[in-house]
Symmetry: C2
Subunit: 309 residues, 2 copies
């Protein structure tokens, strides 16, 4: 048995997870960041709270997934939380005598999906998570590309000289195909088309979201349909590049945007991939699936990190 | 000891190679393709010719590198040579009782550089070969991404809606950053600039080649300098994307174009990578090196295939 802790922007969620990825107990606390030492103490306390329900017996380690870069038990840097070069395992062990494994959050999602979700049964697998940015996690030959090798596939360029990305490049995939990119496309279309149902849908939901274009497209709105199509083309550009580069068995698409209707997202994405992937000339055909674990992927993946590193 | 055979467009080169990648004997015959069975027989005869000089004792297998896709001992398809779904090892074994290992030529170059060239001592390594197209070979965690997982990194898109690529996509990296792409850039610049030294250099060499722009740039020609700069920017686009996606320790640049003067190719490439790679935000910094083995990479890599698969 394992503890998996998913460090989000506002909450820490910890779960007791068995070897099959089944969550047996969950606890959650708000992230009230007071520096690295307090953070390590919070992780230990949260672990103890989860263990109270069952006891520590048979728990092998605590896995922690967080947004940022890690190396072994050290945090190199985190995004959103101000930590840099923090020896987290060392700090954690002052409170609790359990090994601490660290993973990037997108890598943990990949581990979760690989062990008991969309990637189960494969050896070469990638997860692409569509959120504020694009997170990517790669499992190659059954092992996570984690730590220093953790993928930043969202920062492949798809449009040289395109829009500026936070990373400093221009034209990165995540600038176009993240939820943020989708919201930008939606706003641009709304400005150009005051008659579009996008306005009504956005007003009903209190603002423009990643799902706005898909919801308006479901109503038959032409402008929204065009936004969805353009978005899928951007998503496909990077997905096909990733597939051509790595030839995985399955690429799973996760994150909030992946909840969009099948016929507006996954179906056209698969159609473009079938036309554009190098596999049309021979070799392995990569399947594109929806991620399966939803919000639990983080906890499960963090808990099962030790199985793939 | 191993036999490595490099199947080129016009010749077959076979070498007896020791465990350190040292070539002890080489033989070469023209590629006179008369169908898969004759091809397998030629490979066996060539092997025997090499072995005559030393005897077969201690030779573990024959490794063959060829342009195309392979799976185990089978050829899925080859480019330039008309073979599809050929059980090459089976055909070969009718003539010679030695195991046959198959690899894509770019993958063999990666194996050669990894075992005794630019990638020696690493675990995560990529070779990018700039020729008619862009070949890429990946060694991740010390193992070749070969067979069905063989990379087609040249078919990452860097310019959505860009120039048509032979693969069917638009804007693929190899369309811009292969030797073919460089020659196209050079021709375009010559048309726009009749005063450029590119014309003199091309005339002296009997036509426009990959090195034409670099040679004219060495003479101080502004147009040629601009062509070289534009080419390096294209090369950098895909190189940085590959680095961000895989975070290897070293990327080696090989192929004819890599012979260009350091200050016109490798130096600006490294400068752009330093500015654009995600590593500037933390984590592993990938080094970009020139490939070291030249034309021998194919023989050595084919011979040492068994070490990394």
């Amino acid at each position: 048995m394992y503890i998996g802790i998913d460090v989000g922007g506002t909450n820490l969620k910890a779960g007791l997870v068995d070897g099959d990825g089944k969550i047996l107990a969950v606890e959650r606390v708000p992230l009230d960041f007071q520096g690295p030492e307090a953070f390590a103490r919070t992780l230990a306390e949260l672990t103890e709270t989860v263990l109270e329900t069952r006891g520590a017996e048979g728990v092998e380690y605590v896995g922690v997934g967080l947004p940022g870069a890690v190396s072994g038990g050290d945090i190199l840097f985190t995004t959103n939380i101000p930590m840099e070069n923090v020896p987290l395992e060392t700090l954690f062990r002052r409170h609790l005598d359990l090994p601490l494994l660290l993973g990037n959050d997108a890598d943990c999602a990949a581990v979760g999906e690989f062990t008991c979700g969309a990637g189960k049964g494969t050896r070469d697998f990638a997860v692409v998570t569509l959120g504020t940015g694009i997170g990517a996690g790669l499992i190659l030959d059954g092992k996570l590309r984690g730590g220093l090798a953790s993928s930043e596939a969202g920062h492949m360029v798809i449009c040289r000289d395109g829009l500026a990305c936070n990373c400093g490049r221009h034209g990165c995939w995540e600038t176009y195909a993240s939820a943020t990119g989708l919201i930008r496309l939606t706003r641009e279309a709304m400005e150009a088309h005051p008659e579009s149902a996008l306005h009504t849908v956005a007003a009903e939901n209190g603002g423009v979201e990643g799902r706005t274009a898909f919801q308006a497209a479901e109503l038959g709105d032409e402008t929204a349909l065009a936004v969805c199509r353009q978005y899928v083309e951007y998503l496909a550009s990077g997905t096909v590049s990733l597939i051509n580069l790595l030839r995985p068995e399955i690429v799973a698409i996760g994150g909030g945007v992946a909840a969009a209707p099948e016929r507006l997202l996954m179906e056209p994405l698969r159609q473009i991939a079938a036309q554009e992937c190098f596999a049309q000339h021979g070799g392995r055909v990569t399947r594109i699936q929806r991620a399966e674990l939803g919000n639990d992927a983080g906890i499960i993946g963090a808990a099962l990190l030790g199985k793939v590193i």
